[in-house]
Symmetry: C2
Subunit: 332 residues, 2 copies
């Protein structure tokens, strides 16, 4: 079915090299033969087989896009942006869903079998070691939404989760809340760990503020809701909560309103991410925006630059977050 180089060469009356060259830019072909070849190619509907080409060039233009966050609506935005940006760069995402497995071994083997040019690990929950495995296998990798380190093993682009914790703490204090609480995701998620540590360290300088900490089992609506229900049943709740994720926040909101309490009058909530849904008028969540687009653009640019320079020294690129004020915190 597919038409090959050889057929084009025959039709154009030139050698196979000639047609190969007209399809590789920077190669030396005269205008005359180029025209002949292009005409023949157009007639036959030829376009080169990238995979066969990759065999010799060692470039497949394939990028492994691996993630374990297939349940957080924000990741639809993430996939949308990643695919678009990669496509703009002439690259193709090979999607890998980690679902339950978190051992890098299989993914590494798999993506090697497909000779991907690089890998982006898009996850806020996987440990840095996961991404490291690709590097060790000689595959360029960037970890997006991953944990910041001053001395990263691999490229990391994302936000400063510790700083986000601080921002949340400051924002809540600014609004005069005296009794705060942190409602995190899974304790194993690096993002929760860091947000926790920023939040608590910022507050440690303010001993007059009362604060408590709790974690939910996952970054999901139900986890947030259940945890908030539990908190409400167990006596006096805090005045305001920093929920370390928007979905979690929305779950918490729903528990609060079911308990007959009003937001922000009785309880304040601030989330993190600013996913599209947070802006829906019937949710209207005050939250800390994570600059997804910048993170993704930067990630892709980084991976692109690694294609030419695979041993590039690992760097961390962090983008600032900002509070998006909506309706779930009282006025200062």
């Amino acid at each position: 079915m597919a038409v090959t180089l050889k057929e084009v060469a025959e039709l154009a009356g030139v050698s196979r090299s000639a047609v190969s060259r007209t399809f590789t830019d920077g190669a030396s072909v005269s205008d005359k033969t180029r025209r002949k070849v292009e005409k023949a190619a157009a007639k036959l509907g030829y376009s080169p087989n990238i995979l066969a080409r990759g065999l010799t060039t060692r470039r497949t233009k394939l990028i492994g896009l691996v993630s374990d966050n297939f349940h957080n609506p924000i990741f639809l935005e993430v996939f949308d942006q990643f695919t678009r940006k990669l496509q703009d760069c002439g690259l193709r995402p090979l999607l890998v869903n980690l679902s339950d497995e978190t051992d890098p071994e299989n993914s590494v083997r798999l993506l090697r079998q497909y000779s991907v040019d690089g890998v982006v690990v898009a996850s806020s929950t996987l440990p840095p070691e996961f991404s490291k495995a690709f590097k060790d296998a000689g595959i360029p990798v960037v970890n997006s939404f991953g944990r910041y380190s001053a001395t990263p093993d691999v490229h990391v682009v994302g936000i400063d989760n510790v700083e986000c914790g601080r921002i949340a703490a400051r924002e809540l204090m600014k609004r005069g809340y005296k009794c705060l609480a942190f409602l995190g995701g899974p304790e194993t998620a690096t993002s929760t760990q860091d947000r926790y540590s920023g939040f608590s360290s910022e507050l440690s300088a303010h001993p007059s503020i009362e604060v408590s900490y709790t974690f939910s089992g996952a970054y999901t609506f139900n986890a947030g809701r259940t945890e908030m229900q539990r908190l409400l049943e167990n006596g006096a709740p805090a005045e305001a909560y920093f929920c370390a994720d928007d979905v979690l926040s929305i779950g918490a909101l729903s528990a609060v309103s079911d308990a007959g309490l009003k937001v922000p009058e009785d309880i304040g909530i601030i989330g993190l991410n600013d996913m599209e849904i947070a802006g829906w008028e019937n949710i209207n969540l005050t939250t800390i925006r994570q600059p997804i687009q910048q993170i993704i653009n930067s990630s892709v640019e980084l991976i692109v630059s690694m294609l030419d320079d695979p041993v590039r020294f690992p760097e961390a690129r962090l983008f600032p977050c900002m509070v998006i004020e909506r309706g779930t915190l009282r006025a200062p």
Copy 2:
């Protein structure tokens, strides 16, 4: 970096064919050489390059997953399921984001360049001709969530959108609503067209019921909200609305409650999809469930079967939908 067949062969002291054969099942190798080869392979960490293999076998195990629905949260569930199911079958999804372009030409060329074994077009908005283009290019294709046809050009698996329209109409009548309305997605989306036609044809048998129709620009929250706001401003609203999508419904809900009206007391709303968010307690949308998992499993099974039998006669697989009762319709 990558270790090749040849190196394994040398280490094991056998021919290249021998090691190739131990990695192709069904090939004839003695236990003795197989063991030698496996040992050498393990030692070197060898696994075959699927792309190089594909050159001769014409099988890459790559499946193009193309979609233009990157803004509807239900599609995160769709991508999750698709990737998992494909992975279970030993296939790899090459994701294509149609974003704005809807001309199949580019996608066809692209996916051919990557020698994908098949394509699944996951979209409720693209016309059947889109998928047809792959078939014409000789690539096995199934259109998931696409438009049903009694004589389909390509395999279609999804729901009977016309029937869904009927179900909605019946459900609303059952609950005693006398003044109904249809709030669709874009008029160009095949799913909206069909839901519309089912809804209206069911009602045509009940002339006593008043009914009106309107369409929004997209399957998005804002589109639903804006459209509903417009309706509420323009005089007396209907008693109940069939919004042809959950996101649309949630947008409509938000407009209704902003207008100071209560759901379901003042206005009833029924959606379609039953995405996860519809079940969130603070949304609590009564809706028609689309059996996503079945659709996806069936789609993948179909594409798998086409790998062995590419000219398989096109069929349509439709799965029944059911009303999921929550809180946005009054009791019968």
